[in-house]
């Protein structure tokens, strides 16, 4: 760490200290806030992360249950739509990029060097429209527009809430985020390295599993329920084995995802929650073909996989911690990218790859308008798909630190100034030397929504 870095860190700390001195406590998805007159901080620990009140609102079908939920109570001009985007400045740095020894000359051979691009940039644009179609029928539609163009649908679903007058029975159908208390959709960091929980998207290198992780939105039906105060929650989903891709490109199998959580109030500390989850599915290993070309929707040779584990959310005064553990398993055919009808193609000593991973994320909520974030995440392969794969292939360690400061907080719109830094070590992936590959990302920008 040179002098320049020390100075920069020093300046950041000074800025942070100034912020701590001037932030006044708060009052301050604006579409929901506009509807009820509540500030963002009522439902969000620090948006987008939910607190228990907000989670309960969500589980109730975006309803407060105060007889003012149905759209008929709103002014006709109220329209439940919001957008969110983040113009930013960021710097990426990768320490072992293969480059031609002499620029432009392929024959000069490759060496590894550090490449560090930086500059101003845009994040994509999330558009969310969500709320109630009528009492006890909720909906969510989320198109996404990439910063360089290109649109997709992140989520579209309708949910029948509180069936038979009971909050224990709700049925959702469409494309939706899996029911995870520690949500990828509402992760607090945005930089290239730290904007995703790696455990939510990890598949071992060379694996042919269509399923790419519990962090992707999936297509299916979810049955869920919860207690009055959301201390007890359950959900069971049946999902197409498409990894959320529309157009029926894969086979005709279905996966099951289940989540169960229980919270308890510890005197003097706060709310503590533990949960267990599991995603159990099958993916096709080959397709029926026509003239040698695979026919979409005709995937066969299904082999199983699962991702399962436990998590916890711990509140201790102004601190809160999120702990997460995952155990992954992919069938040997998936792990070796071999069609199930050609077992002879399996290399000698082939096995089903398995891995363990997890993270700890800590927050310090100085007040509803200033939150500090720190995270450490790791993945360790416990068994590789075949002996020719080096034992640490796919392993990674990543750290993230950052903060979000909300200069305004009112029911109409939100704005956060963010600064964050993430560093990742990928084991043995350096292209020339086979050493560990280290990248880091630094981002600062204005995350805003209306």
């Amino acid at each position: 760490m040179g002098n320049a870095t020390v100075n920069r860190v020093g300046t950041q700390l000074l800025l942070l200290a100034t912020l701590l001195a001037v932030v006044r406590p708060a009052y301050a998805i604006p579409a929901f806030a506009r509807k009820y007159g509540l500030p963002c901080s009522a439902c969000h620990q620090a948006w987008p992360m939910l607190n228990n009140f907000g989670q309960t609102f969500k589980d109730n079908g975006y309803q407060l249950g105060n007889d003012r939920d149905a759209p008929i109570y709103q002014q006709p001009a109220y329209w439940p739509i919001m957008f969110r985007t983040t113009p930013n400045w960021h710097r990426e740095s990768n320490d072992r990029v293969a480059v031609d020894k002499v620029s432009g000359q392929v024959s000069s051979g490759l060496l590894e060097t550090t490449i560090s691009p930086s500059g101003f940039d845009l994040s994509g644009l999330d558009i969310i429209t969500a709320g109630t179609l009528s009492k006890n029928i909720s909906f969510f539609v989320q198109p996404f527009i990439g910063a360089s163009g290109g649109t997709s649908i992140s989520q579209t679903w309708v949910r029948l809430d509180n069936l038979f007058g009971s909050q224990w029975l709700n049925v959702k159908m469409g494309k939706f985020e899996l029911d995870e208390m520690i949500s990828q959709e509402r992760i607090l960091t945005l930089n290239n390295t730290g904007a995703a929980y790696f455990n939510y998207f990890f598949t071992p290198p060379g694996d042919s599993n269509i399923f790419r992780g519990i962090g992707n939105t999936q297509l299916g039906v979810e049955v869920s329920g919860h207690s009055d105060n959301d201390y007890t929650r359950y959900s069971v989903s049946v999902l197409s084995s498409n990894d959320g891709q529309t157009g029926l490109p894969a086979g005709n199998t279905y996966d099951v995802y289940a989540n169960f959580a229980q919270a308890v109030e510890i005197p003097k500390l706060g709310l503590q929650r533990v949960g267990v989850y599991g995603y159990f599915g099958q993916s096709p290993t080959f397709f029926q073909t026509n003239g040698g070309h695979p026919i979409p929707g005709a995937g066969i040779g299904n082999r199983s996989f699962y991702r399962a584990g436990a998590y916890g959310q711990w509140y201790v005064g102004k601190f809160d911690f999120q702990t997460f553990y995952l155990h992954g398993y992919d069938n040997v055919f998936l792990g070796n990218a071999v069609p199930a009808n050609q077992p002879s193609l399996l290399p000698a000593g082939a096995a089903a790859p398995t891995w363990n991973g997890g993270f700890v994320e800590a927050h310090y909520t100085y007040n509803p308008r200033l939150i500090g974030i720190g995270r450490y995440e790791l993945i360790r392969m416990s068994r590789q798909a075949n002996p020719s794969i080096r034992s640490n292939s796919g392993n990674l360690d990543t750290w993230t630190i950052g903060y979000r400061w909300y200069p305004i907080m009112n029911p109409r719109a939100g704005l956060a100034w963010v600064q964050e830094f993430s560093r990742i070590v990928n084991a043995g992936t350096a292209p020339v030397s086979g050493k560990d590959d280290i990248s880091n990302s630094f981002l600062m920008g204005l995350d805003f929504d209306f």
Binding site: A28, G37, F53, D228, N410, P411
Partner: protein, 262 residues
């Protein structure tokens, strides 16, 4: 000398401020702390109830009914007589239950400690909580089962106590005086439509209805019947009110019990 006097003044001031900060609340075996309650208030409550607890938060102009003005210490939902301060548990219950047909949601997803802390902070908005003690809570006797005689007595009381002038002859909230009603801040207010069911502002149970009739709903035109009616008579009125419900053409034979505390 200046130093000594200012030191003495500081001690006095500190002692004074400590006594005013010593606002505590007690619900069950939980003790609430106003300082923690303040941080919670600023996260959850301030936008409707206002920075000074006077019900003039930024969202208040867009809400009907208006958020409670805590500075007056006049509360709708109490177990204490009209005009007296509520118990800590009354405020806790209102926070937990929410207020039906208003912008006040149920705050049950907050921990019990959080809610008790909020009660402690809210009490600090009015000096009355330092100067007065809460009233003696009403004793709710067990509900006798209904009977045609009880309903008939209740109907007569509904007439003679002039309930019908506001609530209407069929209880639908359309009595001759209904359109003139205003709450104590001068905002128009409508009497409860008794035919719509049991979603009363202060709770849905029969015990809650008995309590509302006994203590009145302060800040609104709904008076307290504690002096006017004996407990048996209030149960008669409750039984009569059951028969007003559109969903309940036949008389109810089972009393509706108070929901278990969470």
């Amino acid at each position: 000398m200046r130093l000594r006097i200012s030191f003495a003044m500081t001690i006095v001031f500190l002692l004074l401020s400590l006594t005013s900060l010593a606002q505590e609340s007690h619900v069950g075996n939980l003790v609430g702390n106003a300082k923690k309650g303040k941080a919670l208030y600023q996260r959850y409550c301030i936008f409707c109830h206002g920075e000074y607890g006077d019900g003039r938060g930024d969202s208040a102009p867009y809400l009907d009914p208006k958020p409670r003005d805590f500075t007056k210490a006049t509360f709708k939902c109490r177990s204490t007589p009209s005009g007296t301060l509520p118990l800590d548990s009354d405020l806790y219950d209102t926070i937990s239950r929410g207020v039906h047909a208003s912008g006040m949601p149920s705050w049950k997803p907050l921990t019990r400690q959080d809610r008790v802390d909020l009660v402690a902070y809210i009490k600090g908005f009015s000096l009355r909580f330092q100067e007065e003690k809460p009233g003696a809570p009403v004793v709710i006797p067990p509900e006798p089962s209904t009977s045609p005689e009880s309903v008939k007595r209740g109907a007569e009381l509904f007439q003679s106590m002039n309930c019908w002038l506001c609530h209407g002859k069929e209880g639908r909230g359309n009595g001759p005086s209904a359109s003139s009603l205003t709450d104590s801040k001068g905002n128009p207010i409508t009497p409860f439509d008794l035919s719509s069911g049991s979603r009363f502002k202060c709770g849905e149970s029969d015990q809650g209805l008995f309590r509302d009739l006994t203590t009145g709903i302060d800040g609104t035109p709904m008076p307290a019947f504690a002096d006017a009616l004996k407990p048996d008579q209030i149960w008669d009125v409750v039984h009569y009110i059951h028969t007003l419900r559109a969903s309940n053409k036949s008389q109810r034979s089972q009393p509706q019990a108070e929901p278990k505390p969470e």
